[in-house]
């Protein structure tokens, strides 16, 4: 495939006055001259520090989503009536005897009721100190619903019956950290699935529009213009509200992704169309046609590889939009519904400002959303710059 990209981009390289053999040049320049486009893209991307950081954050989040059962210290649905609305526990290196240890730990909680407001609150009790163990045993789970295990990344080990709420607990005493981690699986995968669906639509419709032109092009362009001038969120809301309420969570999940991608494909289609139109006139396409290549071969062997990198960049920038839309829909109660856990579903608890003012840690799922979206945006920006290694 590398060869094809090289072939495809030959015409965009500025012609050098006299062909220089790579060995005549200083080594760094020679490296650039003989580098494959993929290498050039990688070098260019690497220079974009913040994009690299964004990529690492995105990868970490997806790892968490893939291994959420292992990462989460508790079962996200376990209700603990004795520990409702526990504030985030602080990690401490001072043990019960007041000595410094290298092992982090948490203090036990002692509840007390406010005599006036009757509200239950918790203070940490420095007399009880429970060390945090890595790869500790905890509640049983099945990884991906298949592999039974009880090893968690972090936990209190032998003291696992003690409260352990690093990010606090919600109104039913469920562990926020575990819930946020499990929610990552749903929220992040909806972005990927939604983008895949809109990519399929976008490539087919954009490709037809760009390759054949004429009436098909005009119709598709009108449809895109129409969809783009629609206020998307009211439309999403209306479509999501029309999903039958008796559907199972899995159906609702796919229904929501379909709705998101039905409206989201237009940008990708525009991009693909633009690329096809630009490439149609390129010399290497003409050459391939004169050599007798079939239309399909020209598309898949010559045209697609040369704009694939642009499409990848556009996709990366489209995923955060999908994640955000799901969050917004679920937040309003029209998207996914409990018992499904997504960031938007978790944020439903934070809808009431009065509640948030008392229990601010209910906003933490939103922090996760913001971090992922920023990371995706940085990564996409870097990819977009790198996708055109022969630009400035």
């Amino acid at each position: 495939m590398n060869e094809n990209i090289a072939k495809a981009t030959v015409s965009t390289v500025p012609p050098t006055p006299a062909p220089l053999a790579p060995e005549d040049l200083p080594s760094s320049e020679a490296r650039i001259l003989v580098a494959s486009p993929r290498q050039l893209m990688w070098w260019r991307f690497r220079r974009h520090r913040i994009a690299v950081v964004g990529t690492i954050v995105v990868i970490l989040f997806y790892l968490v989503a893939i291994f959420c059962e292992f990462i989460a210290p508790a079962n996200p649905d376990t209700i603990d009536g004795a520990h409702k609305y526990v504030p985030p526990q602080q990690i401490s290196f001072i043990d019960a005897n007041g000595n410094f240890t290298f092992r982090p730990g948490v203090y036990g909680l002692s509840p007390h009721r406010d005599p006036v407001t009757l509200r239950l609150s918790y203070t940490s009790d420095p007399k009880q100190w429970y060390p945090i163990y890595f790869f500790s045993t905890g509640p049983d789970y099945k990884l991906w619903g298949l592999i039974p295990s009880n090893v968690h990344l972090i936990g209190l080990g032998p003291n696992s019956d003690q409260p352990f709420f690093l990010l606090g607990s919600d109104r039913l005493g469920r562990d926020m950290l575990s819930r946020i981690v499990y929610a990552a699986r749903i929220s992040l995968s909806i972005g990927l699935v939604g983008v895949t669906l809109s990519l399929i639509l976008g490539i087919i419709l954009g490709g037809i529009s760009g390759l054949y032109g004429g009436t098909a092009d005009i119709i598709i362009q009108r449809v895109i213009e129409f969809l783009r001038s629609m206020p998307t969120i009211p439309l999403w809301l209306a479509l999501a509200a029309a999903l039958p309420p008796q559907w199972s969570p899995l159906y609702v999940y796919f229904g929501i992704t379909c709705i998101l991608s039905l409206i989201g494909w237009t940008r990708l289609a525009r991009e693909v169309r633009g690329r096809f139109i630009a490439l149609r006139e390129e010399d290497f396409v003409l050459a391939a046609r004169l050599c007798g290549s079939s239309q399909m071969r020209i598309i898949w062997r010559h045209m697609v590889p040369s704009f694939l990198s642009h499409i990848i960049a556009v996709i990366t920038l489209a995923i955060p939009g999908m994640i955000l839309s799901e969050t917004a829909l679920s937040f309003l109660g029209l998207g996914l519904r409990p018992p499904v856990i997504s960031w938007g579903v978790l944020l439903q608890d934070a809808q009431n400002v009065q509640t948030v003012a008392i229990y601010p840690w209910l906003l933490l799922p939103g922090v996760a959303v913001v971090i992922v979206i920023l990371a995706f945006n940085f990564m996409g920006d870097g990819l977009r710059d790198a996708a055109d290694p022969y630009g400035r």
Partner: protein, 330 residues
Amino acid sequence: MLQYILRRLLIAIPTIVAISILSFVLIQLPPGSFLDDYAAQLAQQGEEISGQQLEALKQAYGLDEPVYVQYYKWVKGIVTRGDFGLSLEWNVPVSQLIWERMGWTLALAISTLLCTWLLAIPIGVYSATHQYSKLDYLFTSLGFIGLGIPGFMLALVLMWFALSHFGIDVGGLFSQQYQNAPWSAGKVLDLLRHAWIPILVGGSEGTAGLIRIMRANLLDELHKPYVISARARGLSERTLVWEYPVRVALNPFVSGVGFALPDLVSGGVILSVVLSLPTAGPLLLNALTAKDMYLAGALVLLVGILTIFGTLISDILLAWLDPRIRFSAR
């Protein structure tokens, strides 16, 4: 110019028709006819609807007839009598509910747009003329964060902050005492005290995007020969920048009106739910959750038409600003 405007108006008509069809489909989407729901709801409240009344309503909405006749009757009602159908939940004609809401929606969207421009243009110009200065870095990073944080999160955090630190509830557009009071100087002041949050939050994303566009465009312009030659002739830096390159860089702002308005209106839906504003958003959400489909359909239709007019205005402005568009469209 007149010819161009006429052409654009003609193009807008099929789009409006398409939106009306879409809104009508939305009304039809929930299973069961709305009359069944209506009868069931009345029965729940202990009222009995007579078969005769039911029949009369059926006639009025053409529910026995094929879908396209129903659609025709619905559109005809809107165009000739301003009748959008009956709101099930409120038990009043939809038209009584929506106009005030639509007015607030439009007012908020326009003031947000103006505020976006007022902020984005000077900041963008400053960032471009002082590239890589400390303030430029500050604005650029603020812009990135503004793009990344969803508006409703920002609104939640602001509300939480205002409530926990100053003890004030900033939701809504009016304080309790002015809610139903007649218009007065005090009410206007109260409105201004509340409106800045939705305007600022709603505009944050757009402002961030426009600052980036303005900065990039102006940077491209600033190195062109005409700028250098103007500088060589001794024009003051201020006239030089504002008189020529800024004007060229302004094009995306005008073409952005078309997409900014739909974005503001649709983003405003969620924002106004969080901030409980008297705009179309919360009404639409309620209508959808209660399956009050005539109300929901009317709101989607009106918001859609609003955005089409936004696009129309921006196209006309752009053609007026840039003769190339005017002539190429012939």
